[in-house]
Symmetry: C2
Subunit: 157 residues, 2 copies
């Protein structure tokens, strides 16, 4: 089976299949006399595993570990679960950060008339780093606060 066929069967681009081989995620492929790579069902299986893991957002480095556990008959599912849980936590953290940004920016955009004048609270906030001053239900009168609370996201850049 060609790399192109393996690609269509696995949903991994030929480019990436070669890349995965070059970084050792995939074993060196069998070669035909022509030099063409030749893939079998075991390879397809492995490519599928990698792809599913990528779809769940695992980094290639973590996938390397997962592949190791997959192939280890004496593995402990506790190890797998620990990796999965760590990854879930990371995904949730990143999602939270993105949502914080979206919330902050949405409230800025909501405060902007968009009526064609130059006057713009979004620009003002970017200048000053402060959130829109008023009309915040849960903010004390006229108080301003940092756009994004300086916790994790971008705190020390």
């Amino acid at each position: 089976m060609n790399i192109g066929q393996a690609s269509r069967a696995s949903g991994v681009s030929p480019k990436m299949i070669r890349h995965y081989e070059s970084i050792g995620l995939m074993p060196p492929a069998q070669r035909r006399d022509s030099g063409y790579r030749d893939y079998g069902t075991a390879d397809l299986h492995r490519l599928g595993f990698i792809r599913h893991a990528r779809d769940l957002g695992f980094s290639l480095d973590r996938i390397r570990v997962l592949l190791g556990l997959w192939g280890d008959p004496g593995r402990s599912n506790a190890d797998v679960k620990a990796i999965a849980n760590a990854h879930v936590a990371e995904l949730e953290l990143r999602a939270r950060q993105l949502n914080e940004m979206a919330d902050a920016l949405r409230s800025l955009a909501d405060a902007c008339d968009g009526d064609g004048r130059p006057d713009c609270p979004i620009i003002t906030s970017l200048e000053t780093g402060m959130a829109v001053p008023a009309c915040h239900p849960d903010t004390p009168e006229g108080a301003t606060e940092p756009l994004i609370p300086r916790t994790k996201a971008g705190a020390d850049r």
Copy 2:
């Protein structure tokens, strides 16, 4: 003012300040006789703007546009608002994708005993690309479904 002082005052690393200059986000800095860059309040102001925009997740390319609007007295806040809204939509999309991944993986991890045996639904799912079969409140009896519904995220990789 040195690049180091500008860095501390703006929260942008010296490395990044130079980078922003090299790609034209910052104008070429004034130089002292020694060749050291010299920054004034206008530069600090601009660095702050960039940093706040970065904190909101804007790409450097979009920041370039925002800086242009910032410096344009005849700008329309509708333009700014449009950029902001587009960015909010992107942030939300990415956050949603991450949450989908997290949800899928969390349910896999929940289905894993983690009792030290090799047996592991997470690994099985990565092999087959299917979600855990049972115990899904809103899933018909024994039905299995793709781990991540093939919509946008990673559909065509």
